[in-house]
C-alpha cells in the first residue's frame, strides 16, 4: 500500500471509529500502524483522557450540570466528541444512544441524561449483558419508559416492551404475553429520591429496587417458567439467537454500511449476510463482548472496503467538522451554539424523536437538513482564520502546491481523502482552473481560494458520506 492509500484507509477508520482526524493525526497513526490503532481504539489507555470536564466547568458551569437547559447538555456532549482522545469510546456512547434512545423531551433532566451517556462511555465496549443490566437500572431510562410506574399490582408495559422490541431481540420474536411477563419481572425496579425539581433545583436520581413492589410469583417468558426477576429475563433474552443478530445488525449499520431502518429488519435481508454471520459468531463466542466484535469489524476487509457507504449522522457532521477546523478544542465562547447544530440537521442529541431513535442513512437527508449540513460545514471550512483551516493552507504552501489540479487534490485529501465521481470532479476542476495556477506571493487571496474550494467540496453529494 502506498503511503497515500494508508492515509486514506486511516481516514476511513477514524471517521467511523471516531469523529475524523486531522492530517497530522492521520500521519502519526499510519506510522503506528493500522492494527495497533484499532487496538488503541478498542482499549484506550488511562493516559488518553476524554473531554476535560473540569475545564468545561470553569468556563461554562451550565454545561456540566445543565439541569433544565437541554442545549447546554448537548454542548457538553459535543465538546466531548470534539476533544476526546478516546474516540471509539465516545462513538460507542453515540451508538448506544441510537439503540437505547432516551429523550429529554420527557426526562426533563439533562443532568440525568448526561449521566446515562457517561454510563455508555463506561460500559459501551464491555459485555452487552452488563450493559443491559445497567440500562435497566439507569434512572433516565426508568423514567423515560415509565418503569417507576410499573408496579406489582399495576403493570406498566412500556419498558418491558421496548426491552424486547428495540433493545435486544426485535419485533416478531416474542408475543404480547412475553411483553407482559417481562414487565412483571421488572416490577419494583424504580427510582429513589425522585424529588420534585422545584424549588430546590434538580436532585440526582438513583436506582432503587423495592422488594415489596416486585411481583414475586411465577412468570412464563419465552417458554421458560420461574419466579423471574429482571436479571433472569436478561439471561433468557441473551439465549435467543435473535438478540445477537439484532445487536450485530445495529453495529453493521452504525459502523460499516447503511442498512434499511430497524422496523424493516424482519422483512429486508441483511446487506452483507456473510459479514453479519461472522460478526454474530465473534459476538457469541466472546460471550457478548462488544470490544471483541468491534476489533473484529474494524480489522475486517468488509469494513475496510466500505468507504463512503454511509451517510454521516448530524453528530458526525458537526463533530467531524469542528475537529477538522480546530474549533472548540478549548471551551471557548459560542459553545452553546454547537449544541444546537445537530438539532438543526435533524438529530437533537439526547432528545431523539422517540424510543426508536433516529432513522439513519438517506433518511438523514431532506431539503431542510441538507441545507443545514452544507451551510454549517461550508461556513467553517471557508474561514481561513480557524486554526485547522490555516494549517491546511500552510501545509499546501509547504508542499509547494502550484497547479489548480493540485489544489483540488490537496483539498480533497484534507476533507478525508474524499473520492468524487467524474462529473463532480470536472465541475470543481473547471472552477479551480478559472483562477489559474496557485500564487503563493499573494497568500491571502490563495487562502481564500482554498477556503472557497473546501466549502464547495463540503457542498458535494459525496461529502455527505462517511
Amino acid at each position: 500500500m502506498s503511503n497515500r492509500d494508508e492515509l486514506a484507509l486511516m481516514a476511513h477508520l477514524m471517521r467511523r471509529a471516531g469523529f475524523g482526524a486531522t492530517q497530522e493525526e492521520l500521519e502519526q497513526r499510519v506510522a503506528k500502524g493500522y492494527e495497533a490503532t484499532v487496538e488503541e481504539l478498542v482499549s484506550p489507555g488511562e493516559d488518553q483522557p476524554s473531554g476535560n470536564m473540569a475545564l468545561l466547568l470553569r468556563y461554562h458551569p451550565g454545561s456540566l450540570l445543565p439541569g433544565g437547559v437541554p442545549v447546554m447538555g448537548q454542548a457538553n456532549w459535543m465538546y466531548n466528541m470534539v476533544t476526546t482522545e478516546r474516540p471509539l469510546e465516545e462513538k460507542m456512547a453515540l451508538f448506544w444512544h441510537h439503540v437505547f434512545a432516551t429523550g429529554n423531551s420527557k426526562v426533563d433532566n439533562c443532568d440525568q441524561m448526561l449521566e446515562q451517556i457517561d454510563m455508555f462511555r463506561q460500559y459501551g465496549m464491555g459485555s452487552y449483558k452488563d450493559m443491559l443490566i445497567e440500562i435497566s437500572r439507569n434512572p433516565a431510562m426508568i423514567f423515560w419508559l415509565d418503569n417507576n410506574e410499573n408496579h406489582r399490582d399495576a403493570v406498566n408495559e412500556n419498558w418491558g416492551r421496548e426491552l424486547l422490541e428495540l433493545f435486544s431481540m426485535g419485533v416478531s420474536n416474542y408475543t404480547e404475553v412475553d411483553v407482559r411477563e417481562a414487565s412483571r419481572a421488572f416490577t419494583g425496579w424504580t427510582l429513589g429520591n425522585k424529588v420534585p425539581r422545584l424549588p430546590y433545583g434538580r436532585f440526582s436520581w438513583s436506582f432503587e429496587y423495592r422488594e415489596e413492589d416486585h411481583d414475586n410469583t411465577d412468570k412464563t417468558f419465552l417458554g421458560y417458567t420461574g419466579n423471574f426477576g429482571g436479571e433472569d429475563i436478561i439471561d433468557i433474552i441473551l439465549k435467543e439467537p435473535a438478540t445477537s443478530r439484532f445487536i450485530c445488525r445495529h453495529l453493521y449499520n452504525f459502523f460499516v454500511a447503511d442498512e434499511p431502518q430497524v422496523p424493516a429488519w424482519t422483512i429486508e435481508p441483511a446487506r452483507d449476510e456473510e459479514a453479519l454471520e461472522a460478526m454474530i459468531d465473534v459476538f457469541e463466542e466472546s460471550n457478548y463482548n462488544m470490544q471483541a466484535v468491534l476489533r473484529f469489524v474494524l480489522n475486517s476487509d468488509f469494513f475496510k472496503n466500505a468507504r463512503f457507504e454511509k451517510i454521516k449522522s448530524p453528530a458526525e457532521v458537526v463533530a467531524g467538522t469542528l475537529r477538522m477546523v480546530g474549533q472548540f478544542q478549548f471551551p471557548e465562547p459560542g459553545i452553546k451554539d454547537i449544541g444546537n447544530q445537530p438539532t438543526y440537521m435533524g438529530q437533537a442529541l439526547m432528545d431523539p424523536p422517540s424510543v426508536e431513535g433516529w432513522h439513519t442513512g438517506s433518511e438523514w437527508i431532506n431539503s431542510g437538513s441538507l441545507l443545514a449540513r452544507i451551510n454549517f460545514v461550508a461556513d467553517r471550512v471557508a474561514d481561513t482564520t480557524l486554526p485547522g483551516v490555516k494549517s491546511i493552507v500552510d501545509k499546501m504552501k509547504g508542499d509547494g502546491i502550484s497547479s489548480s489540479e493540485q489544489l483540488l487534490d490537496a483539498c480533497l485529501d484534507n476533507m478525508g481523502y474524499l473520492v468524487l465521481n467524474d462529473e463532480t470532479r470536472d465541475h470543481l476542476s473547471q472552477h479551480a482552473a478559472l483562477a489559474g495556477n496557485v500564487d503563493w506571493s499573494d497568500e491571502s487571496t490563495t487562502s481564500e481560494r482554498i477556503g472557497e474550494m473546501l466549502a464547495l467540496i463540503s457542498a458535494t453529494t459525496e461529502y455527505q458520506f462517511a
Binding site: 420527557k106 408495559e157 426508536e356 452544507i374 461550508a378 471557508a382 464547495l456 457542498a459
Partner: protein, 376 residues
Amino acid sequence: MTSTKKDPVIVVLQLTGGNDYFNTVIPYNESLYYDNRPALAIPQEEMLKIDSSLAFNPAMAPVKELYDAGKVAVLHGIGYPDSPRSHFRSMDIWHTCEPDKVGTEGWAGRVTRELDPNKENVLTAINFGHGLPRALAVPGVPVAAIADLGTYGLLTGISDNSQRAKALDIFSKMYSPTVGGSFVTDYLKNTGMDAMVGADIVKVAPEKYSSTVEYPNSSIAQHLRDIAQVYFADLGTRVFYTQHASFDTHAGQGPAHPQLWKDVSEGISAFFQDLEEHDAGDNVIMYLFSEFGRRVHDNGSGTDHGAAGVSFVIGNQVKGGMYGEYPSAKAEDLEQGDLVPNYDFRGAYSSIIEDWIGLDANPIVNGNFEKMSLFK
C-alpha cells in the same frame, strides 16, 4: 386581501405518541369511563360538554368553539385491525397505509406526486419541522422541510452576492442529474436541487406576510404560523404537514395531556383566525390524527398503548359533527384492554383525497375503504 386561491389545500397535524381518545372526547355518561379512569377521570363540571353524551377535554376550548361553529368533524373509533401497539410500526402503517409489510411510500407523498406529476413545483408539499415524516416520503417526490421559515436558504454564509451566485451555479451543476448514479446519490442530488430552488422561492413568504393575529409561543403555533405565511404567499403549496409531541403519556398524564391539547388547540385557533383575516379559509382543511389511542384502564398515573383513536377534520367547508360510533368500552368488547377500532383510517384518507382534493384514493391508500361524507 381577497383570496384568489382555488385549489384545495390540506394541513396535516400529527399528534405524535398516541393521543388518549378517552380523555380527548369523553363519553361522560358512561360509568365505564369513571370505572376505568380512577386516576385520570376528568370531573364532569370541568368537561366541555358537546351533547348529551360526549364532552371535549377542558383544554380544548378553542376547538370546542370551532366545533360549535360547525367546522369540526370528529371521526370516532379510527384505526385498523390488529394494532401492534408499537409507536413506530403503527406510525409507519398510518404513514404508508401498509399494515402487513413495510411500505416505502407515504400517502401524503403520493398525493403530492399526483398533484404535481411533472415536479413543476418543489413546494407542492412542505413539512414544517426537523426531518421528514414517512407520510411525505416517496422516492423522487420533492418535499421541502422547513424547520424555521426565517432562516431558510443554501450557502447563506457567503455574504458577497456575486460570489454566492457563482457558488450556487456550481452547486446546481454538481447536483444536476447524471446517468448511472446510485439510488442514494440520485436522492441526494434531487433533494439538493429542490432545496436550492425551494429556498429561493419561499423566502418571499415572511416578507409578504402581515397579520394582526398573535400566535402563542408554542412550537406547534409557530409552525402553524409559518404554514399560514407560506399559504398566503400563494406559492402553490397543497400539502402542509407538521406535528406536535409527545402524546405518549404513560405517566404524569394528568397535567401533561391537557397542556398538549392547550398548545394544539390555541395554535389551531390562531391559524383559523389568520385564515379568516386573510379571507382565505374556504380552501383549507386541517386533518388531525395520532398513531393510536390509549388503553381504556389507566395505570395509576398514565395510560399505555392502545388501539382505536379519534381524528378531526377542521375547516369552513367541513360538515361539522360526529361521525361513526364511539367503540364500546364494555370489558367483553375490548381487545387486550383496548377500544376496538370500528372505522379504518384509510377511509378517512379516502374521503379527504377524493372529496376534498379530488384524486382517486384507491392507489394512494392501497384499496377501497368506506368513506364519510365530510364536506359541504
